[in-house]
C-alpha cells in the first residue's frame, strides 16, 4: 500500500481527481454519473493504443506508427463491412491487419536492425498512405448498424466498451504481473545484454512487443469505429504521440523496464480527461494541446527531481550497505 502511494499511478490519479474537483468548483455537472462515464468512454481508444505502446516502451523501444495502424485497421474494418462481410469476419480482418502492421515493424527492428524510431516513422507514412489508397481518400460512411450497436449497450448504466476496456486492462495487468514470458518485456528493457546472456529470447520478446502494439491498435480501431460510426481519413491522427505521452504520464519510462498497464491506462484517461475538463470549464478546445503539453512537461520535470533524489538515496544506501558488509571482517 505504501508502495502504491509513492508510485506514479498514485500521483497521476491524485492529479486527475484534483483536476475533476477543480473543474467541479466551476461546473458541478462534471460530478454527474453520465459525465464521468462519458469521460471514460471518450478515452477508450487512447487507452487501448497506449496499452500496446506500453509493451514497446517496456523494452526501451518506441513505436510512432500505432496511430496510423489504428487508422489502417479502421479502414479495413469499414471497407470489409461495406463489402457486406459479416461483422465477425470484418473485425477479424481489422485485427489481423493490426497484427501484420506490428509484425512489419518487428521484422525491420529485430531482423534488419533499423532503429525503432526510424522504422516506425517510416511505417507511419506507409500505413497512412495505404489508408488513403484503399479508400481513394474519401471517408467511409453508411456503416451497417451491427457495428454501431455495441456502442449503445449498457450494463449497470456503464457502456459496454468501458466494461470491455476494463477487462482488457485487467487481463493485461494480470499477464504482465504473473505470466512469466510477459516479464521478459521488463527484463529486456532493464538490461538487454543481461537478458540475452541469461537465455531470454530477446529478439522474440522485441518481436512480440511490436506485434502487440499493432494488435492493441487494431482493437482500438474497432472501438473507435463503433463509437464514431464512420472512418475519416485522419482517424487516430497524432494518437501515436498522445499514446507515448500517456505512457510517460502514467510512469512507463522511456528508459525501459518500468511501468504498469494501470499506469498507462490512467495516463491515457488523463490525457483525454484534460480535454473534457476544458469543455466543462468553458475553455475553447484549441487549448487542449497546450494543456496536454504543459502537463506532460510538468510531470516529467517533477519525476526528474524525484528520481534524482531517489538515486542519491539509493547510492547512499548502497555505500552504507557495503560499509556494513565490510564491517563484518574486523
Amino acid at each position: 500500500m505504501k508502495k502504491f502511494l509513492r508510485s506514479r499511478e498514485a500521483l497521476i490519479t491524485g492529479l486527475l481527481i484534483l483536476l475533476i474537483l477543480f473543474t467541479g468548483l466551476f461546473n458541478s455537472n462534471i460530478f454527474k454519473f453520465n459525465s464521468i462515464t462519458e469521460i471514460f468512454n471518450a478515452s477508450l481508444t487512447l487507452v487501448l493504443i497506449s496499452l500496446g505502446e506500453m509493451f514497446v516502451i517496456f523494452t526501451r523501444g518506441i513505436d510512432v506508427s500505432v496511430g496510423a495502424t489504428t487508422g489502417l485497421a479502421a479502414v479495413i474494418l469499414g471497407t470489409t463491412l461495406n463489402l457486406g462481410w459479416p461483422i465477425e469476419w470484418a473485425i477479424s480482418a481489422a485485427i489481423v491487419t493490426g497484427i501484420l502492421a506490428g509484425m512489419v515493424n518487428a521484422v525491420g527492428i529485430t531482423f534488419l536492425r533499423v532503429p525503432p524510431i526510424i522504422m516506425t516513422l517510416g511505417t507511419l507514412g506507409i500505413y497512412r498512405g495505404l489508408m488513403r489508397i484503399i479508400t481513394g481518400g474519401s471517408w467511409i460512411e453508411n456503416l451497417p448498424q451491427s457495428i454501431k450497436e455495441p456502442n449503445l449497450w449498457k450494463f449497470a448504466g456503464i457502456p459496454f466498451y468501458v466494461w470491455l476496456t476494463l477487462l482488457v486492462i485487467a487481463i493485461t495487468a494480470w499477464i504482465t504481473l504473473k505470466y512469466k514470458p510477459a516479464r521478459y518485456f521488463y527484463a529486456v528493457g532493464d538490461n538487454e545484454q543481461g537478458a540475452y546472456i541469461l537465455g531470454i529470447p530477446v529478439r522474440l520478446t522485441l518481436f512480440a512487443a511490436y506485434t502487440l502494439a499493432g494488435f492493441f491498435a487494431a482493437l482500438a480501431a474497432v472501438v473507435f469505429t463503433s463509437q464514431i460510426g464512420f472512418v475519416s481519413m485522419n482517424a487516430a491522427d497524432g494518437f501515436e504521440l498522445k499514446a507515448i505521452a500517456a505512457n510517460v504520464l502514467g510512469g512507463v519510462s522511456l528508459t525501459g523496464g518500468i511501468g504498469t498497464p494501470l499506469g498507462a491506462a490512467i495516463g491515457a484517461l488523463f490525457m483525454t480527461a484534460v480535454h473534457s475538463m476544458l469543455i466543462f470549464l468553458g475553455v475553447p478546445g484549441i487549448w487542449d494541446n497546450a494543456f496536454a503539453g504543459v502537463i506532460l512537461l510538468t510531470v516529467v520535470y517533477i519525476d526528474y527531481h524525484v528520481r534524482s533524489a531517489l538515486e542519491l538515496q539509493r547510492r547512499q544506501a548502497r555505500i552504507r550497505g557495503d560499509a556494513s558488509l565490510k564491517g563484518g571482517e574486523s
Binding site: R183, Y186, A187, D190, N191, Q193, G194, A195, Y196, I197, L198, G199, I200, G257, I258, L312, R314, R315, Q316, A317, R318, I319, G321, D322, A323, L325, K326, G328, E329, S330
Partner: protein, 514 residues
C-alpha cells in the same frame, strides 16, 4: 614478496596429491577477431572435472573474450570447442547453459527494476513457489541475506555477485567461470568465496578462475594459464611454478622491478599546487592532503575504498561533496572538469572507454578535446590540430597509421596513451591519474611510467591512484592509503614498501573507524 610466499605455502598444501579428473572442456586453436583486430590468436585451453583452473593476463590480453566464447556470449571465428571430447557449437549463452556452462561475470547482470527473486529465476522455467524452495537453501549455504521481494537495484556489489553464483547453481552448471570475482570483495568475503569454490570443486564441478591477483591464484588454483596479447604463453600445474614465473610470463621483458628502473632520487619538492582540506561525501570523509610541484603522491587502497570518488569530488564531477579544494592557491568552490582544467588540473579517469575516449572519432579528436580553444579564435585550424596531434603521437610513442585513425581501432595501450595525451595537451600543473596502466600491455606500461617521470622533472605534480601496489611503491615520493573512505595513513621514505602499503590497504595497521 612476502604475500606470495605465504600464498605458495597454502597452495602447496591445498594442491597436494590431487589427481586430475577427466577433461571436460577443451578449446583448440581458437581465433577471435573484432573490427579487423585479432584478439585471440589460436589459443588452447583445457579444464578437468573438479579442477580449479586459473587464467591470468592483463585486461587487453583476451581472457574475457575467451570466457565469453566458452559461455556462448561470443562465437569463435576459427578453431573448436570440445565438451567431454565431443565438438560443440555454443551459439548462444542459452546453449552454453544447457551444456552446463555458466559464467559469473565481473559485472553482474542485474535487472534493477525486477525483484531479487525474479532476478534469480530469470530465464528458468520454475514457478515462483518452486523457485523459492530451490533458491532458499542455496542462499542459506552462501550466506546471502536479502529481501527476495525487494527491487534488485538495492543490492550491493558483493550481493550481486552472489546472485550470479546462485543463478549458475540453479542451472546445475558443470563448468563455472568466475571472471575476476574478488576485485570488489573484501578479504573475508574473498576467503568465503574460495571456501565455496573448493566445495564446488569437490563435487566435481570444473571452475575457471580469472584474476590478476597472483597471491589468490597461487592459493586457490590447481592449474594456471597465462594469456598475453591473445596468445597462451603458459599452462602449468600450480605446483610446478612460482609467482615469479607468472610475472615473467605476463611481461615480455623479464624484470623484477615492475617499472623497470631504480627508484629515482627525490627532487626538492616545490610549492603546493593542490590542497584538499576536509573534503567529504557519502563515499569518503575528512580527506585532507597537499600536493607539491614535481611530486608523485601515490593513493593506494582497495577497489571501493573511495579513491575514485575522492578524485571525482576534487575535479567537480561529484557535485555533492563538501570541503575545500585549492588549485594553485585559488580556492574553487564551484568546480567542474573544465574549470579545473582552466586552473591547471586534469583528471585521467579510471574507465577509459566510458569516460576518457571518443571511440568512433579520429584519434586526434580525443587528444584535442580539452584544448579546442587553442586551435584558433573562431575557426579550428586543422594545421594546428595536426601539429599538436603529431607532437603527442611522437612524444608518447603512440602507434597509429595517421592521427585520423578512428580511436576505436587502436590497441588498448595506445588508446590509453591517447587519453593521457588529451590530459597533457592542456599543459596542466597537476594531473590525477586513476589506474593509468589498467589493462594495457607491458611496453605501453613502461611508456606511461617514463612519462610520469618526465612530467615530474618538468615540475608537474601527480596524484597516482592505482590498485597495482608495486606501481605505487616504485613511483611515489609519498603514499596516502585510503581504507573504507578514510585516508588512514601517510607513508614516506623507506616506509614506502609493498608490505606497509598492502597492510595499510587492508586496514591491518590503521585503527578501524567505528
Amino acid at each position: 614478496m612476502r604475500i606470495w610466499e605465504n600464498a605458495m605455502k597454502s597452495a602447496d598444501s591445498a594442491n597436494a596429491n590431487k589427481p586430475p579428473g577427466n577433461v571436460m572442456l577443451e578449446l583448440r586453436n581458437v581465433w577471435k577477431v573484432f573490427a579487423g583486430v585479432p584478439v585471440l590468436k589460436g589459443i588452447n585451453f583445457t579444464l578437468a572435472e573438479g579442477e580449479i583452473h586459473a587464467l591470468l593476463g592483463g585486461n587487453g590480453s583476451g581472457k574475457s573474450t575467451t570466457m565469453k566464447i566458452i559461455s556462448g556470449a561470443y562465437q569463435l571465428d576459427d578453431g573448436e570447442i570440445r565438451l567431454y571430447g565431443k565438438p560443440v557449437k555454443l551459439d548462444s549463452p542459452k546453449v552454453a547453459h544447457d551444456a552446463g556452462i555458466y559464467m559469473v561475470p565481473q559485472e553482474p547482470h542485474v535487472f534493477p527494476h525486477l525483484s531479487v527473486l525474479e532476478n534469480l529465476g530469470i530465464g528458468l522455467d520454475f514457478s515462483p513457489a518452486e523457485l523459492r524452495t530451490r533458491v532458499e537453501p542455496l542462499l542459506e549455504s552462501l550466506g546471502f541475506h536479502a529481501d527476495l521481494e525487494e527491487e534488485a537495484a538495492f543490492l550491493s556489489i558483493a550481493q550481486q555477485q552472489l546472485l550470479e553464483i546462485v543463478r549458475g547453481l540453479l542451472r546445475n552448471a558443470r563448468v563455472l567461470i568466475f571472471d575476476e570475482p574478488t576485485s570488489a570483495l573484501t578479504f573475508r568475503e574473498t576467503e568465503q568465496l574460495f571456501e565455496r569454490m573448493r566445495r564446488l570443486a569437490a563435487q566435481g564441478i570444473g571452475l575457471i578462475f580469472i584474476s590478476h591477483r597472483l597471491g589468490e591464484v597461487m592459493e586457490i588454483a590447481d592449474r594456471v594459464s597465462v594469456l598475453r596479447d591473445g596468445v597462451m604463453v603458459l599452462d602449468e600445474p600450480v605446483g610446478n611454478i612460482t609467482p615469479h614465473d607468472l610475472v615473467r610470463a605476463m611481461l615480455p621483458e623479464s624484470s623484477d622491478n615492475v617499472t623497470g628502473e631504480e627508484k629515482r632520487e627525490r627532487l626538492e619538492p616545490g610549492e603546493v599546487v593542490l590542497e584538499v582540506e576536509n573534503l567529504h561525501s557519502e563515499a569518503f570523509s575528512d580527506a585532507s592532503f597537499k600536493l607539491r610541484a614535481g611530486e608523485v603522491l601515490g593513493l593506494a587502497g582497495l577497489v571501493g575504498s573511495g579513491r575514485t570518488e575522492l578524485s571525482e569530488a576534487i575535479v567537480g564531477i561529484d557535485k555533492h561533496a563538501h570541503g575545500l579544494v585549492k588549485i594553485g592557491g585559488t580556492a574553487l568552490n564551484n568546480r567542474s572538469p573544465s574549470i579545473c582544467q582552466q586552473h591547471g588540473l586534469v583528471y585521467v579517469p579510471e574507465d577509459r572507454h566510458a569516460h576518457g575516449i571518443f571511440l568512433d572519432l579520429p584519434s586526434v579528436y580525443t587528444i584535442t578535446a580539452g584544448i579546442l580553444d587553442r586551435l584558433g579564435k573562431w575557426f579550428l585550424s586543422s594545421e594546428a590540430e595536426r601539429s599538436i596531434g603529431e607532437r603527442f603521437v611522437d612524444a608518447m610513442n603512440i602507434k597509429l597509421t595517421s592521427i585520423w585513425q578512428i580511436a576505436g581501432t587502436l590497441s588498448g595501450g595506445n588508446q590509453q596513451k591517447v587519453v593521457l595525451a588529451k590530459a597533457l595537451a592542456g599543459e596542466p600543473r597537476v594531473v590525477i591519474l586513476d589506474e593509468p596502466t589498467r589493462g594495457i600491455d607491458a611496453s605501453a606500461r613502461q611508456d606511461v611510467y617514463r612519462l610520469i617521470r618526465e612530467l615530474t622533472r618538468q615540475g608537474v605534480a601527480i596524484l597516482l591512484i592505482s590498485s597495482e601496489l608495486e606501481e605505487v611503491v616504485d613511483l611515489s615520493d609519498r603514499v596516502l592509503v585510503m581504507y573504507r573512505g578514510r585516508l588512514t595513513e601517510e607513508l614516506t621514505g623507506d616506509d614506502i614498501n609493498l608490505e606497509r602499503v598492502t597492510e595499510a590497504s587492508f586496514g591491518l595497521t590503521a585503527e578501524v573507524p567505528a
